[in-house]
C-alpha cells in the first residue's frame, strides 16, 4: 500500500489520477480504516487529505454561505457557535453518526463519499441544497450533493477527482431545516429510514421546500412530490398527510436485516411529517 499526504488538492488529484488499483482518500478514516481492518477493502493507494491547508476550517462567506473543509469533524460542527443555529438539521444529522470517539474523526465528505444509502448527513445536505467542490485533472467543478451517490458504495466522482470543499448555502430569512432518522435503539445505530426537510416561509405559508429520504432506495432521494405536497400550505393536517403519502410513494426500499419494505415505506411517511413539523417550527423562529 502506498500512503501519500499531499499539500494541495491539485496534488491529491494528480496522485489519484496516476494511481493504479484501488485508491482511497483518507480524511477521518471512520469508514476507510474500518474497512481496511475488517479486510473488506485494502487500498493500493491511500491519499491522506487531512494535511492540506484549510481542510479543518468552517468559514462563513461574505454572502452568508458557509464553506466547510473536507476534514472538519462532526464534533467541530456541533461545537461551532453559529453553524448549528442556522442549519440545525444539518449539524444534528452529522452528530447522529457513531459514538463520541467517531464524532472526533468523522466528516461530512466521508459520509457522502462512502455512498451508503443509509448515510445520515447526506439527506440533510440534500435538503439544505448543499453542493460540493470537486477538484480534478481539469480543475474545480461544483456539484449538487444528490448527484454524487450513484449506487450503494458508488459515486459519480471520476478517477483523479477529489472532493475539496462542502458549500452550504446562506440560511436567509424565515428558513428552517430538520433531519430525523429511525433506529430501533437510541444511538450507535444505522438509519433504517432517514428524512431531511428544509423550508422557507412567508408568514405561515411554505414558499420553498426540499424533502429528502435516506435508506429507502439505492441512493438518497430528493422527493419533488413531497415538496409539492406542502408548498403553499401552512403545514396543516391535510398537507402533512399528503407529504407522508408522497414520501411513502417515493420509497423503493429492500428487505434486509435492518428493516422490511413495508416498514421502511410506512415509516418514511411518519418521519417526513415529524421532520417537517420541526423544520416548520424552526422556520418560524420557534425552538424545536
Amino acid at each position: 500500500m502506498d500512503y501519500h499526504s499531499p499539500a494541495s488538492f491539485a496534488e491529491a488529484s494528480a496522485l489519484a489520477a496516476k494511481a493504479t488499483g484501488t485508491t482511497r482518500f483518507l480524511a477521518g478514516g471512520t469508514d476507510v480504516l474500518v474497512q481496511l481492518r475488517s479486510d473488506i477493502v485494502t487500498p493500493d493507494t491511500l491519499i491522506d487529505i487531512k494535511k492540506i491547508g484549510g481542510v479543518r476550517d468552517i468559514t462563513r462567506n461574505a454572502d452568508g454561505s458557509w464553506t466547510i473543509g473536507v476534514a472538519v469533524t462532526g464534533a467541530e460542527m456541533s461545537e461551532h457557535p453559529e453553524l448549528g443555529r442556522e442549519w440545525p438539521g444539518l449539524v444534528e444529522a452529522m452528530d447522529l453518526i457513531g459514538s463520541t470517539q467517531v464524532q472526533g474523526r468523522a466528516t461530512l465528505t466521508g459520509n457522502l463519499c462512502n455512498a451508503s444509502p443509509a448515510a445520515d448527513a447526506v439527506p440533510a445536505m440534500v435538503a439544505a441544497e448543499v453542493t460540493i467542490s470537486v477538484t480534478g485533472p481539469d480543475g474545480v467543478r461544483e456539484v449538487p450533493v444528490e448527484q454524487i451517490p450513484t449506487a450503494p458504495g458508488r459515486t459519480s466522482l471520476a478517477k483523479g477527482e477529489v472532493v475539496s470543499a462542502v458549500n452550504v448555502p446562506a440560511r436567509g430569512a424565515n428558513g428552517g431545516d430538520a433531519y430525523l432518522r429511525f433506529i430501533p435503539r437510541t444511538e450507535m445505530d444505522i438509519a433504517v429510514v432517514g428524512c431531511g426537510v428544509n423550508l422557507r416561509l412567508d408568514g405561515e405559508t411554505i414558499t420553498e421546500a426540499r424533502v429528502s429520504l435516506g435508506a429507502v432506495a439505492p441512493t438518497v432521494l430528493l422527493v419533488e412530490d413531497c415538496a409539492k405536497a406542502i408548498l403553499g400550505t401552512t403545514l396543516d393536517e391535510a398537507a402533512l398527510d399528503a407529504l407522508a403519502a408522497a414520501a411513502s410513494a417515493a420509497c423503493n426500499p429492500i428487505n434486509d436485516k435492518r428493516g422490511t419494505i413495508e416498514f421502511r415505506t410506512e415509516v418514511a411517511g411518519v418521519l417526513a411529517k415529524r421532520a417537517a413539523r420541526i423544520a416548520y417550527a424552526r422556520a418560524k423562529g420557534e425552538k424545536a
Binding site: 429511525f182 430501533p184 435503539r185 444511538e187 444505522i190 413495508e262 416498514f263 415509516v267 411518519v270
Partner: protein, 752 residues
C-alpha cells in the same frame, strides 16, 4: 427485604466495600485474554466455512505453508492422524472436537476448517486466503420447526439418544417429558383455557471480550494455556482429551474475563491454538474477531413453543401443559429439557405436563446463556397467564400469588421444594410503588415470575494465613460477577479480620484441586461455602495453637472477633489472642496455618424472581421504549448487595435486548447476516431506564450464611414481562421475539 435498621448477625457480610479488582480494571492494569505475550510468539488465524452445510471434498494448504511467515497450518487431518487428537473420542468431547475443527462436513456458516500460525496477525490472515477448500454444498436448515419436518436435511445420522421416540426426524436428538396429575381432567375443570404458539430467536450473550488465548505445547506433552474462560479445569480436561495429552501436564490459567454469561463454559479456539503451537513448536496466540464470536461461538437456542393453560374464574390454574422445541445448532445440547422443567416451576400445580425437544440445525453449537432454556419457556407460559388474567379480569400478581409454589410444593419437574422465596418476591412486587404508579397513555405494564435451579458443582478452596495476620484465599472459579469481593467478605466474617486484609486469587489448574466452571449461579454459593469452610478449618488450627500456648484443651477455646478466647469462665483466664499474634509465631508453633475445603455441595437452593416492566409503544413506528423496570428477586442472603443488584440489573438489561431487538438473522443461503454489533442490536446504555432492584432474603438452608445464587434467575422473567407490557400497551398479544419495530408495526397494522 433488606431493612437498614435490622440488626445484622453479620459484621462484614451485607456491606458494600470496593471490589479488590476494581483499580486494575479502571486503570487498564488487568490482564484479559488478549493481553498475554510470550517470547517467539506466533499469531493464529482460523479459516471458516462460508457455507451452512457442505461436504469438505479437499483442502490444499500447500500455498499457505510455502509462505516464509507461516510456521504451521492445521486441519482436522492433522489432529486425528499424525499428532492425533486422541482417536476414538466419544460423546461431548467428540462434539467439541468436531465443533472446533470440522471433519467431513462444515456444519454451519463460520465452522472452522483450517488454521494458520504465522509471525504476525496480518500474515496469518493473509495466509488463510491461500488455503484452497473444495466444498460440495449440501441442503441446509436453520429453523427449528423446519428441521423437524420429514423433508429436512439430516445434519448427522445417529446423533439421537435413547430418549427420542420412534419416528422422529434424525435431527431430533433428545426428548424430555415430565409432569404429574391428569392435565385433560384439569382442563375440563377450567372456566377458560388458552392455548397459544410462541417463537423466540437465538441471541448471543454479547460479552464485551472476544475469546482469546495464548497456548504453548511442546513435543514433550507439557503445555501452558492462558485463556479467557469461565472455568479453566474444563478447558484443561477438554483440551487434554482433544490433544491426547495427560490432563495434569497442561496448566491452564484463567485471564481476567470481560463477560461470559455461560458462553465461556466450553472451548472454541484453545485446542486449535495448542495444536498450532505443538506443530510450530512456538507459543501461539489466537484472538477472535467480533464476527467470529457471533458466527462460531455458542449463542443461545431459538425456540418454538405451544403452551396451554386452564384457569378458573377465581384465578386457580387447573392444568398446564407445554411443548418446547429448541434448536441448538449442529450438535446435541439445546436445553429443551431445561425449558420444559423450568416453564411451570413457579406454580403449585395439580396437573402439569411438559415436553422438550433438542433439535439440530445448521447453526453454531449453542452454549449456555444465563439460566439456559428458562427464559423462553417463561415467555410462553407467563404470556398465556397474562392473557388469562386479562380475559378473566384478574390482577396478574394476585393470580400468581394464588398459584405460587411454596415450601412443600411438588415442583412441576418432580421434587418437593424446601424453603423458597417466590411468595415473598410477589408480595414485595405488589407492595412496590412501581406496581401502583399510574401509566401514561400508550404505556402498558407487564409482570412475570421466573425460576432457576441453581447449581453446586465440584469446588476446592485453599486459604493460607501470612505471618502478619493477613490471609490469601485461592479459589478456582473465575470472577465473573465480583466474586472475589464476596469471597473476601465471607472469609473476613469467619476469620474476624478486615476485608482489606484478605486477597482472593483465582488460582490456576496447577495450584488447586478441580473446580467446576463459574456457571449455574454457583460461585457465591459453592465457592462461598468452601471459602467459609476453609476459613473455619484455619480457625480450628488457630484455636489449637492458642490452646497449646495456654495449656488448655482445644475445645475450651473459641474464636471471636478475630481472636482466640477461652470458651467460658471455667476454661481459664486468658487475654484474647488475636490472629496476627498466633500467625506471627506459627513457624515455631507447628508450622504454616492453612485451611482447605473440597466437596461437591448439593444444597444450592432454587431461586425465584418477579419483574415489573412499563413499556411505551410508538404506534406510528412500532418502536418500544422501556420506561420503568423493577427487579425483585430472592438472594437468600446478599453477601455484597451492590453486586447482587448488579446481577439483577444485568439480567434485566440483557432481557430487554433479547425481548426487543437482538436476534440471529439468517439469509436464505444459511449465512448469518448480522455478525457485528452494528446490526446485532444489543441495547446501548441510553436505551435503558434506571433498573430498580429489591433484594428479598429468604435464607437457603443449604448454605452456612443462607446464600442462593443470583446470576441467572434475573434473565428468566424479562422476556415475558416485557412482552406482557408491550402487548398491554399495543392492545394485542405479541407472540414472537424479538418485538422489533417492524414486527410490532406489522402487528399494529393487522398483518403481523
Amino acid at each position: 427485604m433488606a431493612l437498614d435498621d435490622r440488626k445484622s448477625e453479620f459484621k462484614f457480610v451485607g456491606t458494600r466495600p470496593d471490589r479488590p479488582d476494581g483499580l486494575d480494571k479502571v486503570t487498564g492494569r488487568a490482564k484479559f485474554g488478549a493481553d498475554a505475550h510470550a517470547p517467539g510468539m506466533l499469531h493464529g488465524a482460523i479459516l471458516r466455512s462460508p457455507h451452512a452445510h457442505a461436504r469438505i471434498v479437499r483442502i490444499d494448504t500447500s500455498r499457505a505453508e510455502a509462505l516464509k511467515d507461516v510456521k504451521a497450518v492445521v486441519t482436522r487431518a492433522d489432529f486425528s492422524d499424525k499428532v492425533a487428537f486422541k482417536p476414538g473420542l466419544k460423546g461431548e468431547f467428540w462434539n467439541v472436537l468436531e465443533n472446533v475443527m470440522a471433519g467431513e462436513k462444515a456444519l454451519y456458516d463460520g465452522h472452522a476448517v483450517a488454521a494458520v500460525a504465522a509471525t504476525s496477525a496480518l500474515a496469518a490472515r493473509d495466509a488463510l486466503k491461500l488455503i484452497e477448500v473444495e466444498y460440495e454444498v449440501l441442503p441446509h436448515v436453520t429453523d427449528v420447526d423446519k428441521a423437524m419436518q420429514p423433508d429436512a436435511p439430516v445434519i448427522r445420522e445417529g446423533a439421537a439418544d435413547y430418549s427420542v421416540p420412534e419416528g422422529m426426524h434424525p435431527n431430533v436428538v433428545r426428548y424430555h417429558e415430565s409432569g404429574h396429575g391428569d392435565v385433560e381432567a384439569g382442563f375440563a375443570e377450567a372456566d377458560l383455557v388458552i392455548e397459544d404458539h410462541f417463537v423466540t430467536e437465538a441471541t448471543h450473550q454479547g460479552y464485551i471480550e472476544p475469546h482469546a488465548c495464548l497456548a504453548t505445547l511442546g513435543n514433550d506433552g507439557k503445555g501452558e494455556l492462558w485463556c479467557c474462560t469461565q472455568g479453566h479445569w474444563i478447558v484443561q480436561k477438554t483440551c487434554a482429551a482433544l490433544l491426547g495429552i495427560e490432563t495434569s501436564q497442561l496448566r491452564v490459567t484463567a485471564s481476567e474475563i470481560g463477560g461470559g454469561f455461560g458462553g465461556k463454559t466450553t472451548v472454541f479456539i484453545e485446542p486449535v491454538a495448542l495444536a498450532l503451537s505443538r506443530k510450530a513448536n512456538r507459543p501461539v496466540k489466537l484472538v477472535m474477531s467480533r464476527s467470529e464470536v457471533f458466527r462460531a461461538t455458542g449463542p443461545t437456542a431459538s425456540a418454538s413453543m405451544d403452551v396451554r393453560i386452564g384457569m378458573k374464574k377465581d384465578g386457580t390454574i387447573t392444568a398446564a401443559q407445554g411443548v418446547f422445541r429448541l434448536q441448538g445448532g449442529a450438535f446435541p445440547g439445546a436445553p429443551g429439557d431445561m425449558t420444559a422443567m423450568c416453564a411451570f416451576a413457579p406454580y403449585h400445580l395439580t396437573n402439569v405436563r411438559q415436553v422438550g425437544y433438542d433439535v439440530m440445525t445448521n447453526r453454531p453449537k449453542q452454549a449456555a446463556y444465563r439460566a439456559p432454556g428458562a427464559p423462553m419457556g417463561a415467555f410462553a407460559v407467563e404470556s398465556v397467564i397474562d392473557e388469562l388474567c386479562n380475559k378473566l379480569g384478574l390482577d396478574p400478581i394476585d393470580v400468581r400469588l394464588k398459584n405460587a409454589a411454596h415450601e412443600g410444593t411438588k415442583a412441576s419437574y418432580g421434587p418437593r421444594y424446601e424453603r423458597i422465596g417466590l411468595v415473598e418476591t410477589l408480595e414485595a412486587a405488589k407492595a412496590h410503588p412501581h406496581y401502583s404508579a399510574p401509566l401514561k397513555p400508550g404505556q402498558g405494564r407487564g409482570i412475570s415470575c421466573g425460576f432457576w435451579f441453581n447449581h453446586g458443582g465440584e469446588t476446592s478452596v485453599s486459604l493460607a494465613l501470612s505471618e502478619d495476620g493477613s490471609a490469601q484465599v485461592m479459589v478456582g472459579t473465575p470472577d465473573i460477577g465480583g466474586s472475589r469481593a464476596s469471597m473476601a467478605l465471607m472469609a473476613a466474617e469467619v476469620l474476624g479480620i478486615p476485608y482489606e486484609n484478605i486477597r482472593v486469587t483465582v488460582a490456576d489448574t496447577a495450584t488447586l484441586g478441580y473446580n467446576d466452571v463459574s456457571h449455574g449461579s454457583r460461585v457465591t454459593y459453592a465457592s462461598g461455602l468452601a471459602t467459609i469452610k476453609a476459613a473455619r478449618n484455619a480457625v480450628e488450627k488457630l484455636c489449637e495453637r492458642a490452646a497449646a500456648k495456654w495449656g488448655i484443651p482445644v475445645d475450651a477455646v473459641k474464636w471471636e472477633n478475630g481472636c482466640a478466647v477461652p470458651s467460658g469462665p471455667n476454661a481459664g483466664d486468658f487475654d484474647p489472642m488475636p490472629l496476627a499474634e498466633i500467625t506471627a509465631s506459627m513457624g515455631r508453633t507447628g508450622g504454616p496455618i492453612s485451611g482447605h475445603f473440597e466437596a461437591t455441595p448439593e444444597g444450592a437452593g432454587v431461586s425465584f424472581g418477579t419483574h415489573i416492566v412499563d413499556a411505551e409503544v410508538d404506534r406510528e413506528t412500532g418502536r418500544t421504549t422501556i420506561t420503568r423496570y423493577t427487579v425483585i428477586q430472592d438472594a437468600g442472603k446478599a453477601i455484597h448487595p451492590a453486586y447482587v443488584e448488579g446481577q439483577y440489573q444485568g439480567g434485566a438489561a440483557q432481557g430487554i435486548g433479547w425481548a426487543l431487538n437482538e436476534e440471529y438473522i439468517y439469509g436464505e443461503d444459511g449465512r448469518l447476516q448480522n455478525s457485528i454489533f452494528l446490526d446485532y442490536r444489543i441495547p446501548v446504555a441510553s436505551d435503558l431506564p434506571m433498573i430498580d432492584t429489591v433484594i428479598v432474603e429468604v435464607p437457603n438452608p443449604g448454605h452456612p450464611f443462607g446464600v442462593r445464587g443470583v446470576g441467572e434467575t434475573g434473565i428468566v422473567p424479562p422476556l415475558a414481562a416485557i412482552a406482557n407490557a408491550v402487548s398491554n400497551a399495543a392492545g394485542l398479544r405479541m407472540r414472537q421475539l424479538p418485538m422489533s419495530p417492524p414486527r410490532v408495526l406489522a402487528a399494529l397494522k393487522g398483518n403481523g
